[in-house]
Chain length 255, copies 2
């Protein structure tokens, strides 16, 4: 049995709380947030608090709080030499106050409050200073059904950066596709199977091998037609930059 | 029963040929390519030819050839007033010689020679000059199990353009993520569940609603850290342009 105190009440904290609650041999013994009202809906299932001095003794303290809050919050914790981890992709292990046993438990996935998430699809990137702490975190990740990755700080930071490319930036390309289709009265829905297939293709093929299209072929006529169709200069800039990027990768243009 | 002659031997032609062959009430009576060797593997299942003068009479001629070949090939066809369609996303209906009954049968999906495709996931965008021809094409799409969309030329061209954003450009973002993770010895594989979830999310949520991350939050510290991590100026340019794009969409910055 591992006893856990969760700190924070955002999307990551809430999803972790929920999955811990339904995991055998994992017990959330307390949930802290500086603003208690966010935790009120859970007050009948778990001890809640907004007072750091009331924190119970636990095997593990998981801070799922904003990046800036990690350092001050860990130094305010009124105990030492217990395992304290954060869930951030880009903060250091050493952003946790040195009086604690330190680790990182970074779930690499997009969290939103409403969507149901299957932790089997959420790799947990784990980092710890000591081997015994690493195993506590690894066993916890396994218990909730997640794949685990042992990473160092540089690897975790670069994964967080890469996640912005494949998640936020990709989603913005979907958004632009939405804008340009609707501007002609075409339906964005028509693109949904292609969006899914594009993501599925790189599950078994490298993005390099999966690439197709006018930029890779250097099909100048189509490239010109597309630029003419785009009315927004900002969309043209993105079209040009990503076309150049593809041609750079596939040897059409040296930069 | 609809009788079809397929023209061309690329990925689209091959996938269409295969799905037509297994569809009841659809019969491919001949397969044409200017270079016969590409069709040789099929010579025992279908009549093949490289001679336009040997083309059989059919209900429908489907040209899945390169964009530039559509115009000359349709004018060389030694008959008139039969239904002739192309499968291109960006060529006009009027690029087909006017002696024919004209239409477009554009499958909006990424085709590669090896991957198996389920036509249930391939919307067919249909355009025809005459209503009776439209219905022939629509019934054919339904027969192979595809969703159908009636589009005009402008809508089809804009869908083709939008497909470049959600497919080729998105895939290039995957490629960049591959490059930057491997540069630190992290594994691209760790990102695969996130890639899939990002695509799944917009199946039921608009890309606008699905957006998260440091650009949307205008989290300047993280944006700065990410730019510092990126070693390649070209990757920095993409990071900056897509961050600006997200902030433009979500009202952080007016351009």
């Amino acid at each position: 049995m591992i006893s856990i105190v969760v700190l924070g009440a955002g999307n990551v904290a809430t999803h972790l709380y929920k999955v811990f609650c339904k995991t055998p041999n994992v017990s959330v013994i307390q949930w802290y947030n500086r603003n208690l009202s966010a935790l009120k809906p859970y007050k009948n299932e778990v001890a809640i608090t907004d007072d750091l001095n009331q924190l119970k003794e636990a095997d593990l303290y998981i801070l799922a709080v904003s990046d800036d809050a990690i350092k001050p919050l860990t130094s305010q914790l009124p105990f030492e030499n217990r395992l304290v981890v954060h869930t951030s992709g880009c903060m250091g292990l050493y952003d946790i106050d040195q009086k604690h046993k330190r680790g990182v438990f970074y779930p690499l996935q997009t969290f939103s409050k409403t969507a149901e998430l299957d932790f089997a699809n959420i790799p947990i990137c784990i980092e710890a200073l000591k081997s015994e702490d690493y195993h506590v975190l690894k066993n916890l990740a396994i218990a909730i059904g997640s794949p685990t990755k042992k990473v160092n700080t540089d690897q975790r930071k670069v994964l967080h950066l890469a996640a912005v490319f494949v998640n936020n930036f990709t989603n913005q390309l979907y958004r632009i596709a939405h804008e340009i289709t609707e501007s002609e009265g075409a339906e964005f829905d028509t693109l949904k199977p292609l969006i899914l297939e594009t993501a599925k293709k790189v599950q078994h093929l490298s993005p390099y091998m999966a690439q197709t299209g006018p930029a890779k072929r250097n099909d100048k006529k189509t490239l010109k037609k597309h630029l003419k169709l785009l009315k927004d200069q900002h969309h043209k800039d993105i079209y040009n930059l990503l076309t150049t990027s593809i041609q750079r990768t596939h040897g059409r243009k040296k930069l």
